[in-house]
Assembly symmetry: C2
Homo-oligomer: 140 residues x 2
């Protein structure tokens, strides 16, 4: 049971808080780490990864911090999970059949490819904006 590890879980909580507190000033990770009860040094690595993936922008020095690089509606959860889990697909062979000698006649590969597609379709269809308002949707 992984696929969604603490990297994605912490990362999404970071993004939702950045979306909530978005404004003129960037938000420092220390405050997010305290609010969300996530180890700050660990969170800083996740933020760096999300920056490298183009999801976040940062400002250094005092009063620095992070902000979203795009609008919440334009950030898919798929891009967040792919960046943080560092994976392209569920199994190597669904992406690149050449890595397995059996892939030509493999009867199980279509099953796993289908699962991979189901997962990616779902995650692609949910944006940070959807996630950020989820609790409100549920309270109607």
């Amino acid at each position: 049971m992984s696929l969604i590890t603490t990297r994605s879980r912490y990362g999404l909580r970071l993004l939702i808080e950045l979306a909530d507190r978005a404004g003129s000033a960037p938000i420092d990770l220390g405050s997010v780490a305290r609010n969300q009860d996530i180890p700050e040094l660990y969170l800083s690595k996740l933020a760096a990864t999300l920056k490298a993936a183009g999801v976040l922008r940062s400002e250094r020095g005092a009063k620095g911090g992070y902000r979203l690089a795009r609008r919440p509606e334009d950030i898919s959860i798929l891009s967040v999970v792919e960046a943080l889990e560092g994976r392209s697909s569920l199994l190597e062979c669904t992406d690149d059949p050449a890595i397995c000698a059996r892939s030509g006649e493999c009867r199980t590969l279509p099953v796993w490819s289908g699962l991979d597609k189901a997962i990616n379709d779902y995650l692609r269809g949910v944006s940070l904006a959807d996630a950020a308002v989820a609790v409100i949707d549920y309270s109607i």
Copy 2:
């Protein structure tokens, strides 16, 4: 990247071979291990797990082996994956919100619950019979 580990991958290949070679006699794991190039001792543990889950039946002693406990159409891939990965859901909290103090107001939980549902819906909808004929479907 796990969720589908070698346990599920090897296990499904075992089940497909059992479905293919189904007949009056049970099939010994040694021959499956050789055909599929899977370590026999590891495969024997997977088979034992699938037996415990009610997916397989076994006969001991010489000329013994394993056979499917039900028809391939009546074995969902979900039941196979759940048995072999030993999981009930993607995250503990989607099953039992009480384990996390934040679950009450958690904004990320609905996202992961939705993913869990997408995965389970897909796996529940594919049977061993579907998987066993997959290569034929693709060659039409």
